[in-house]
Subunit: 330 residues, 4 copies
C-alpha cells in the first residue's frame, strides 16, 4: 500500500485521478487538495468520500497542505505555470499531470507555453513517464499530454521505420481535454454541432511528440462535441519495414494497448471511460502511405489512467492494477 | 425562369435541393419524384409545397415520370449505381448529385464504387461542375462530392504550387453525409459521443480529388456527431510560392468562398445551413508544411447549393442567385 | 421602410435579431450597439454588414448611442436588470426582448427576478406583445419569454376551457436559451450527454404564463444538449370543450402557428432556424387529461422572430414579412 | 457463486447485463446466447471474454441453447413478444428484462403492447422485482421498465400521501432506451439537435406505473440526444404529509437511491454508467404542487443493474454486490 495525496483535485484531471485512486487496491487516499474548495466536504467531489467512515479525507485542504502532507505518492493536477513553480515534497513520488516538466529543454516553455520556466535547472531531474515507450524512474514523473500519448503510442515503436518528413498527426479530442474552466471555446454554443481546429500548427504537444521521436511532425488538434475520448489519425511513409508487424510485435504483451486486426477500426466507445488504447493500421490505396489511427480516453490513458500506470510501474506492482481496461459500445 | 424537376427528392440531398429550388427566384418547380412516396402529397416533404395554391406539384410522382417530365433542369439525387444507369432526358439540363458521372475513366467505378459502369462510353459527355475550378458546360453536369469539394477548394488553386507527394487531407463530416437510409453507422448510439474514421485510405472521393489535381493524395474521412457541416484539414508543402497569396488572389472576386484573414479559423457554425465556404491558412511551426482548413456545409456547397450554383452558371444568371451565403454562430 | 437600431447586438438574441432585420424587406438597419464591441467593425458579428457598400453600419457604436440614434424601431437585447433602467428613446418604437417590462405588477421583479424595478410607475405604459394572443400596441413593446411563448401558444386559446388547477408545463430548451455569457451551466462538459432541470418550480416565466392565462400553473424548464429549439409539453383537463377543435379554429388563419393533424408529433427539426410554431394535441389513454406539445425555436418565435412579428403588426405590414417560416428535417 | 446464462446478449440491455455479470464476484458466466451471433467468438461483444483463459464462454450459442443450459440464473433480454412465449427453464432463476411478464392482467398486453399474451395463465407466477418497492421472490422475476423504475422510485413511497388525480410524469431518456435495432427514430439525423416526445399518452410504461401505485397517472416519454441516462420529472399534490420527509425516511438505509439535500438537483452525469438513482424534491412556488425529479441510467438501474440487484436479493447477498454506484461528472 502507498498513501496518496491529490493536489488540485477539482478539475477534470484531478477528479478522474481521484476516481482511479479510489478504485485502486494498493493506493490509500490521505489528502485531497483544492484552493477553491478548501474546508468543504470532500464528498462534494466524489460521493464515495462520504460513505466509508474509515476514509481519512473528510474535507478538502489547501494545495500547499496537500503537497506537504508526506504522502508516498502525490498527484499534481495544476495548470502548467503553477505546476512549474512547485517545490517537490521532501519525500515520496511526485507525478505532475501538467506539461510543466515534460521537457529537458527549458526553451520549449518560452516558445510553446508562453512563460519562462521558473526552475529550469531542475528539469533534467524529471522522468517522462509513458510506460510503453519511456518507462518512469526516480521520484519526479512528468505525465504525458493526451494528444502526445495517442500520437506516440502509434508512432513511437515506428520511429526508426518511417520517413520523418512524411509524418502528419491529425487529432480530435473530446472537450474535457480543454478543461473545466469557463472560456468561449468550451461554451456549449460553440461546441455543439461543431468541430474546431485550434492552435493549428502551434500546439504545445507538437514538441512533446518530437522530443520522444527525435524528429518534428505536423500536428493539428480539433475539439469535438463529445465529452471524452481522443482519436489521432497519423499519416506516414515506411522506409521499408511492415509497420503493422512492428506494432503487433511491440504491443504483443500489452494489456493496455491493443493493435486491432486488419479491417477493424478503433472505436471511441470501446476506450471511453477506460485507460486502454486501440490502434488500427491501414494501407492507403492512393499513395504509399500507411495510416495509423490510435484511440484513447483523453482523461484515462491520456491523463489519470497513465498517471496510475506510471505509479504501478514505479512500485513494481502489476501494470494494470486499478486501471479500467474495457469499455462498452453503449 | 427555368422549370425544375427533382428525381429522388426524399433523401437528405433531394430535400436540400428542393429547399434551394423553392427559394430561387428563377427556378420554377414542376415535378418532385420519389418512388417510395409516389402518390403522396408533396407537402409531406416540405410544407411550402402546400401553401401557395399556385404550385404545380401537389403530389409526388415516380422518379421515371419526374425524369421524363420535360423540365428545363432535372436534379437527380439517386444512389450512385441507380444514377449510373439513367437515360438522360430528351431535353434540358441534367444535374447528377451522385458520384455516377464524375469520372472520365470508367475503371474508377469498378475499383472504388464496387460496380461496373453500365454506360461507360457516355462518361466523357459529362462535365464535372465545380464552379470555381471546373465550370460546368453542356447539358450533363456531374455535381462534385462533398469531401472532394472541400479538399479541392483548398487545393485546386495550388495544384502547381505544392509538392504532390506531401499532400494529406484529413476530413470530418456531419452525419447527414452518410445519408438518410438506416444502417449501423448512422444509428445514434454509434454517432453520439463518437468520431468514426471510415473507409480509411479507400474512400471514393480520393480519386475524385486526384482527377482534378492531377496527382494522388492521402485522404481519410471521419463521421462526426453533428448533423451537418464538413471540415477538411489539408497538409502540404509549397514548392516556393506563398500559398496564402495564391488563394487570396484566386478567390478575390468570390462571394461563395472566403479566405479568412491570418489568425482566423474556419467555423462550421458560419457555413452550416449555407452554400458558402471558408478557408483558413496556417503555417506549421514545426515543419515547413502549410496547413489549410476548408469548411463547408456538406449539404450546401457540398451538394445542393453547388448544384444550383452550377445551374446559375449554365444559364448565365448571377452566380449566387438563390444561394444561402451567411450563417450565424448560433 | 423603417429605420432600425439594435441595442446590445452581440448576444444570441441580438445576433438573431440582426439576422431577421437584415433579411426584412422593410427594415433598414442604421445602428448596431454593443458596449464591448464599440468601435469594432460590425461585420465581425455578421459578414453581411461588410458586403453591401450601401450599408450605414460599418462599426459598432455604444448601446447608449444606439438607443439615442433616432431610429424608427429600436430592439433592446439587454440583460433584464439593465433593460429595466432604460430611458425610452424620444421617438420611435422600442421593443424590449428582455423580461424587464413584461409585468404590470412591479412586485414580480422582486419576487422572481431578484431586483427591485427602477421605474415601476412606467410598467403600465408597456404592451405585452404576443401577436396571436396579445397584439402589440403603442410604442413600448415587451417581447415575451421563450418558454412563456411556447406555453401560451398552447394554453392561451384554451384558458377558459381547461381546469386551472390541472395545468402542468414541462419545457425543454436548447442551450442558447441560457445565453452566451460564460457560466458553469453552459460549459459543454455539463451540457453534452445531459439534460438539466433548473430553477425547478421557481422560474420567472411561470408568472409570465400566469399573467396572460389569469391563473397559476406548474412549470419546470430543462436545458438540452442542443443548440436551439424548445419544446413545451403541457398537461391539462378540459372543462368540457374539445381542445383540438378550439385550437384548430383559433389558428385556422395563422401562417406562423400550425396545429398538426391527429397522430402527428411536433418536430424540433421543422421549427429550428424558423419563426414558426407547431402544436400537437394528444389524448391521454390513462386519465382524462389532454396533452398538448408546442415546438418553437427559442431564438426565433421565442425571441427575435416574434420581435419582428410584433413590429410587422404595429406597422400594419404583412404579419410574416421577413420571417422564416419553414425549416427542414435535416 | 451462481452460474449465469444470458439470452439475447447482443442488444444494449444484453450487453450491459453481460458487463455487470463479468464485474460481479459471485456470478460465473457460463453461456452467452444470440441467434444472430451463434458460433461467433463471444469476445466480439466484450473483449473481457477473450482474456481469461478460464472463461467457459468462448463462443455464442443460440438463445434456445442458452436458455436450456441449466444455469443457476438466466437473464433474458429478448423483445417483448418473443419473451412472452418463453418456456421457463427447468431449473434456476429466470429474470426477464422485457415487459412480457410485468403484468398480472393479460389484457394489458392486447391494449398496450399490441399482442395477445401466449401464456396468460402463467403471468401470476411471476414476481415484479423492483427491490426498493416490490422485492423479488420465487424463481420467475419480471424486471421493471426503465421509465417505470424512475417514476416509481419517486412516487412509490408516496402513493398513499398524494392526490392520485394530480400526478403527471414527464420523462426524458437517452436513446439507448430505444434499442439497438435500426429504425427512423434512432437514426442520428433525427436524434442530434432534437428532443422527441413519442407514444404521447399511450406508452406501455404507464400501466406499469399504475399497477404498482394503484392509480393512473399521465405519462409522456421523450427521446434525448444523449446515449444513456433518464430523468423523470414528477408533478403531484400532497394530501398533507411532507413528501420530502417521507422519501428521506424511506430511502434512509439505501445505498442505491439517494434523496438529495434541499436545493440540489439530480444530475444525469452522476448516475450515468451506474446502477444508482438520485431524487430531488422541490416545492412549486406558484401552485401547491411538489415536484420530484428522479435520475437513473436507463441501462443501469433502469435495466441491467436492477436485474443484478434483484438476483442479489434473491440469493441473500449484499444488495449492491457487483453494482456500480458512483459516476463522475466528467
Amino acid at each position: 500500500m502507498a498513501t496518496v495525496s491529490i493536489v488540485a483535485a477539482s478539475g477534470y484531471t484531478g477528479q478522474e485521478t481521484l476516481d482511479r485512486v479510489l478504485a485502486h487496491p494498493r493506493l490509500d487516499l490521505v489528502a485531497v487538495g483544492s484552493d477553491s474548495l478548501a474546508g468543504e466536504p470532500a464528498s462534494a467531489l466524489d460521493p464515495r468520500l462520504n460513505r466509508n467512515g474509515g476514509r481519512r479525507v473528510p474535507v478538502f485542504i489547501t494545495n500547499e497542505a496537500a503537497l506537504a502532507c508526506g504522502a508516498d505518492v502525490t498527484f499534481a493536477c495544476l495548470p502548467h505555470e503553477e505546476a512549474a513553480a512547485l517545490e517537490p515534497p521532501a519525500r515520496g513520488v511526485l507525478v505532475d499531470l501538467s506539461g510543466a516538466h515534460r521537457f529537458a529543454d527549458p526553451g520549449v516553455y518560452e516558445q510553446w507555453y508562453g512563460f519562462s520556466h521558473p526552475r529550469p535547472a531542475e528539469l533534467r531531474g524529471w522522468s517522462y513517464g509513458l510506460p510503453e515507450l519511456s518507462p518512469p524512474h526516480g521520484t519526479l514523473i512528468a505525465n504525458p499530454g493526451c494528444y502526445a500519448t495517442a500520437a506516440l503510442l502509434a508512432l513511437g515503436p515506428l520511429k526508426d521505420a518511417v520517413e520523418p518528413a512524411s509524418v502528419v498527426v491529425d487529432a480530435k479530442s473530446g472537450m474535457t481535454g480543454a478543461g473545466r474552466s469557463l472560456k468561449p471555446s468550451t461554451h456549449a454554443g460553440l461546441v455543439l454541432e461543431n468541430v474546431s481546429p485550434y492552435k493549428v500548427g502551434e500546439h504545445q504537444h507538437a514538441p512533446e511528440i518530437a522530443q520522444l521521436l527525435g524528429f518534428d511532425v505536423s500536428f493539428v488538434p480539433h475539439l469535438l462535441p463529445v465529452r471524452r475520448g481522443l482519436l489521432a489519425t497519423c499519416y506516414m511513409r515506411s522506409t521499408g519495414a511492415d509497420l503493422r508487424t512492428l506494432l503487433d510485435e511491440f504491443y504483443a504483451g500489452s494489456e493496455v494497448v491493443t493493435v486491432l486486426p486488419e479491417g477493424t477500426t478503433p472505436e471511441l466507445g470501446r476506450v471511453q471511460h477506460t485507460d486502454a488504447a486501440e490502434i488500427g493500421v491501414f494501407r492507403d490505396r492512393c499513395t504509399d502511405r500507411t495510416i495509423i489511427v490510435c484511440a484513447i480516453d483523453n482523461l484515462g490513458k491520456g491523463a489519470a489512467g497513465q498517471a496510475v500506470q506510471n505509479v504501478n510501474r514505479l512500485f513494481g506492482w502489476a501494470e494494470t492494477e486499478g486501471l479500467r481496461l474495457s469499455g462498452v459500445l453503449v
